[in-house]
């Protein structure tokens, strides 16, 4: 009788042990997204968050039993640098996220220390520049190259034979880098340019514009957000007919509204499905429309975000097959991401470099049409 009892205890212990072994399997992974859902640059927050949610949903439906469930939690940073850390802390505290996607460059810098401390992987799905690439090893940028995209804007100005250029830019890292890229190529090619950093909530640009008009400025570059819509309106109101140039953010609906039509004809650096993998891009937009009932107003942010999160999901789904029991998820995922050499996404064939930046997304030049749409510029 005692023998049977001991045998039963042994079996139960074994079952418990085996059960506890199987508990090491990762069942669920939480991902956070911090982006502008209100206030400013909402085209870089709302549509990307929807695209990421779509990708997560598609994965959760098709995943196998052994693959972890992925949850996405979204926080609004109002495109403010100082809102990034509180949003990150909230996501960590409430959802214990292992990966955070963040679209604001300043915000990405803001959470650097904390993500290293927590072992969280940060991915910027909007911007990809040298500054971001120099951040810590847990930070990745799966997006177009900021410098390269804006360099093409400078080249366009040069090709158009414009000789005096005013560059206005929003006071954040992204727009500063963009402005510097334009200025750099112009300077290299002996084109006169003036770089002005505007105030964050500035809406009156009359003085700057009047001065530029007086200086016979023949090209105006607005590297910023919706408030530059006022600047465009004010410029046209002063009778400035020189061509306008803009960044990737022109398709913020408020930008169009604030410009009251002055934005029409503005050339900008932008990205649409024909610049990437047209078939996959078209499928994505179809799924997006089916899921949310409309296509995104500005296409490139959700496309980049969709590729960025899919690259991460593509690795995370292997967690239970590849990750060692004692290996930290953040370390494991970082190493996996460093080995992404060729991901065929909606934006093209993407690879991740040793510094966490990515290559393979190349922006083109577009012009804002009178109906608010963009028309690709043929050189």
């Amino acid at each position: 009788m005692l023998g049977y009892f001991r045998l039963t205890i042994l079996l139960l212990s074994l079952i418990t042990l085996l059960g506890s072994c199987s508990n090491n399997e990762v069942k669920e992974i939480n991902i956070g997204f911090i982006g502008p859902l209100t206030t400013r640059a909402i085209d870089l927050g709302i549509a990307p968050s929807k695209a990421m949610l779509l990708a997560v949903e598609e994965y959760n439906i098709t995943k196998t039993a052994s693959q972890p469930t992925i949850n996405l939690f979204i926080e609004d940073d109002r495109w403010e640098q100082n809102a990034a850390l509180p949003a990150y802390n909230k996501l960590r505290k409430e959802h214990n996220i292992d990966v955070v996607f963040i679209s604001n460059t300043d915000g990405t810098i803001e959470i650097q220390e904390k993500i290293m401390e927590d072992g969280v992987i940060a991915v910027n799905p909007i911007n990809n520049d040298k500054l971001l690439a120099s951040l810590n090893k847990n930070t990745f940028q799966i997006a177009k190259s900021t410098e390269e995209a804006h360099r093409s804007l400078g080249i366009r100005i040069i090709e158009l034979g414009l000789k005096k250029v005013l560059i206005l830019h929003f006071p954040n890292d992204f727009m500063t880098i963009a402005a510097n890229s334009v200025e750099k190529i112009l300077t290299e090619r002996a084109v006169e340019s003036k770089l002005i950093r505007v105030e964050k909530d500035q809406t009156d640009f009359t003085e700057i514009l009047k001065n530029a008009q007086k200086e016979n400025t023949d090209a105006y570059v607005f590297l910023g957000y919706k408030d530059f819509g006022f600047a465009m309106k004010q410029a046209r109101d002063f009778g400035i007919e020189a061509p306008f140039f803009g960044s990737t953010t022109l398709l913020d609906p408020n930008f169009l509204i604030n410009s009251e039509g002055a934005i029409v004809g503005t050339e900008c650096t932008f990205f649409t499905p024909i610049d990437g993998n047209y078939i996959l891009g078209y499928e994505f937009l179809k799924s997006y429309k089916k899921r949310y009932g409309e296509e995104p107003f500005s296409i490139w942010p959700p496309m980049q975000a969709y590729d960025a999160i899919n690259i991460v999901i593509n690795e995370l789904k292997m967690v239970n097959e590849d990750k060692k029991t004692d290996e930290h998820l953040g370390d494991w995922l970082r190493n996996r991401l460093f080995n992404v050499r060729y991901y065929q996404g909606v934006c093209g064939n993407i690879s991740i470099k040793e510094d966490g930046s990515s290559r393979g997304i190349y922006f083109s030049l577009y012009k804002v049409e009178s109906n608010g749409d963009l028309q690709k510029i043929k050189r």
Binding site: I158, I274, D275, R341, Y342, N349, I350, Y362, F363, I377
Partner: protein, 645 residues
């Protein structure tokens, strides 16, 4: 050869064929798998990479050429060129590296890998140089830049492109051949596999057919013979024998069958013989039953008669035909039918024998309706596995009549005995009266005329007085004798207390004779208290009275516990009784000695005899003259209370 051996061998060969097929299949499948793996992991990926490499190499050459020759490049093409330089070529390098890691050291790709990587790196370098040289339209107007760019395209890129293409082409040819070899090998493997399955399958099927034919043929004929023989046996032909040749199981079965039929023959003969004997036995029993002086009826559990004998016909007046198959209750008066439950009791208890009419009146009913006193003995018997009752019936009419007659005589005798006892009592009692008168008058004569009487007269009167006294004692004794058991009651008697009270009564005699009386702890018995006291008193008194003058009388009273009774022994060391008188001492008024030697009436032992007769016991004596006597008597443990009162 045994069938088992045949089957084992046959299946063994088939299993061997299958095993061979499995082994060959496994080997060829392994080869096919290896070939397929090579196809999948080496040849096809290599060709895919080489194709892509070639395509990208060509595209790069075209894009760079376009960029240089066509005065600027559309932004889309420029982006594509950038993609090739930044993503596609580095990726192909990585893929090629991974592939070469999985290939043998002497593989063409492994050998060519450094060369291809060098070409690729140079192409990336040159492409980036062109990108740096030619950015805007103005750059195309710069002859220096254009000269450098043209040089890069026409000399460097073109050359490297061509070399890379050649290397890739050679590799592609090699891998194309290898792919073809693998495909041929794979096809050959599949073909071999198919052939082996086909050949072994055909061999297996043919062998199976041959084995099946041989086995079926070796089994079916003997089984057919056995079947025919079994059918003949089933029809009663026990002389059937079969002859199956060989040493297999069926031949053994045939021998067993022959043994079985032989055994059946013997058994059948034995059964026939037994049946005959049983029939003879039954006939004998029938005759015995028939010859029985008692009427015999055999009935089943439902009391239906299945057999009767002649005496039954005679007793009940029915013929056999009228009784067999009918209920036995027909032969019993309806008011006694309830006694029929005894039949059920006999069936229930089996082996039990019940008797009807022994202690109570039981009657049979004749055909004419006359009731005949009978005694019925019911015996359970089993005949042919059926429970039966054998009723043996005796007509006890004559016995009943005799019993009535005997009872009448007994009653008369009892009445006479009673009258006699009454007479003795009355006589004894009434005789005392004239004797007392005679003795009174003798006393008066002696008192009043004693001095006037001459000596003779006085002597004569003394004789008359002694004789009258003796007569009175005799009558008193007789009266006592007749009163033994009269109005007595059976009760529990402690013999120890009884002896003690007798000793108290005989204290004077005991002390004067110095008698020694000893006894064990005596039992408590059921009996008539006064009579038992008298019994012990008479025996002790006799022992004291008939002691030897030279010895002190010693009396020992002991007992023995028998199953049905107590036996008491009263032993003395007295004068003893001669053998010839030992049977007379219990007769009334028998004396063995002169009155002068030993006084007494000679009725004491008669009292003892009658007391023990009253208790249903016995008394006898063992004695030796000069040694002593031992009186033995028994008292039953269960006194028949019929005698009570």
């Amino acid at each position: 050869m045994r069938i088992r051996t045949k089957l084992i061998l046959s299946f063994g060969v088939i299993i061997c064929i299958l095993f061979l097929e499995i082994v060959l299949n496994q080997i060829i499948s392994d080869n096919a798998t290896k070939t397929y793996q090579k196809l999948k992991s080496q040849a096809l990926p290599a060709l895919r990479i080489l194709d892509k490499y070639e395509s990208i190499n060509n595209e790069l050459f075209l894009l760079t050429s376009n960029k240089v020759y066509n005065n600027n490049l559309p932004l889309n093409s420029q982006n594509r060129l950038n993609g090739i330089l930044e993503v596609e070529l580095p990726y192909l390098k990585t893929e090629l590296f991974i592939l070469s890691e999985n290939l043998a050291a002497n593989d063409q790709i492994v050998l060519k890998y450094p060369e291809i990587i060098e070409f690729t790196n140079n192409l990336i370098l040159l492409g980036n140089r062109i990108n740096t040289l030619l950015i805007t339209k103005d750059d195309y107007l710069d002859s220096n830049k254009m000269q450098v760019a043209l040089g890069i395209v026409e000399e460097d890129i073109s050359k490297i492109h061509s070399q890379l293409n050649t290397s890739l082409l050679l590799l592609k040819i090699n891998y194309g051949n290898l792919l073809e070899d693998y495909q041929n090998e794979f096809t050959q493997n599949l073909k071999s596999l198919s052939n082996i399955i086909l050949i072994t399958g055909i061999i297996g099927i043919l062998f199976g057919i041959v084995v099946a034919y041989l086995v079926i043929r070796s089994i079916s004929k003997p089984i057919g013979d056995l079947n025919s023989a079994a059918l003949r046996v089933s029809r009663g032909d026990y002389a059937t024998d079969i002859n199956l040749k060989g040493r297999d199981e069926l031949a053994t079965l045939g021998n067993s069958f022959n043994i079985m039929t032989s055994s059946l023959r013997s058994n059948f003969e034995l059964i026939k013989s037994n049946n005959k004997e049983i029939k003879q036995q039954e006939e004998r029993i029938r005759k015995v039953i028939e010859a029985s002086p008692a009427a015999i009826i055999l009935m089943d559990p439902k009391k239906n008669i299945s057999l009767i004998n002649l005496q039954t016909e005679n007793l009940f007046g029915y013929s056999r035909r009228e009784l067999v198959g009918k209920s036995a209750e027909k032969l019993i008066p309806s008011k006694l039918i309830q006694n029929g439950s005894l039949v059920n009791n006999v069936f229930a208890s089996r082996n039990k024998i019940d008797i009807l009419g022994k202690d109570q009146n039981f009657y049979g009913l004749t055909k004419s309706g006359k009731k005949v006193p009978i005694e019925v003995r019911l015996n359970y018997i089993e005949i042919h596995n059926q429970d039966m009752i054998l009723a043996s019936i005796i007509d006890i009419t004559e016995r009943k009549e005799k019993e009535v007659e005997i009872k009448m005589y007994v009653d008369q005798l009892k009445s006479k005995n009673k009258e006699l006892e009454q007479f003795s009592y009355i006589t004894s009692h009434d005789l005392q009266e004239p004797l007392r008168t005679v003795l009174s008058f003798i006393d008066v004569i002696q008192d009043d005329y004693g001095d006037k009487l001459d000596p003779d007269m006085s002597m004569y009167l003394k004789y008359i007085s002694d004789a009258s006294t003796r007569m009175s004692n005799l009558i008193k004794s007789l009266l006592d004798y007749s009163r033994i058991g009269y109005k007595g009651v059976v009760e529990t008697v402690d013999c120890n207390e009884l002896i003690e009270s007798v000793e108290a009564d005989l204290k004077y005699k005991i002390e004067s004779s110095k008698a020694e009386i000893s006894y064990d702890t005596l039992p408590i018995v059921d009996g008539y208290h006064l009579e038992l006291r008298l019994l012990f008193q008479n025996l002790i008194t006799n022992a004291i009275k008939f002691h030897k003058k030279t010895e002190v009388p010693k009396i020992n009273i002991s007992f023995e516990d028998k199953i049905t009774h107590w036996q008491f022994n009263v032993a003395d060391n007295g004068i003893g009784i001669p053998k010839e008188f030992q049977s007379k001492i219990f007769v009334i008024f028998q004396r063995l000695h002169n009155r002068e030697d030993y006084d007494g009436t000679g009725i004491g032992l008669s009292h003892c005899y009658k007391i023990l007769e009253l208790h249903g016991g016995k008394i006898w004596v063992n004695s030796e003259v000069g040694i002593g006597s031992t009186f033995h008597f028994t008292i039953p443990k269960n006194i028949n209370f019929k005698n009570n009162g």
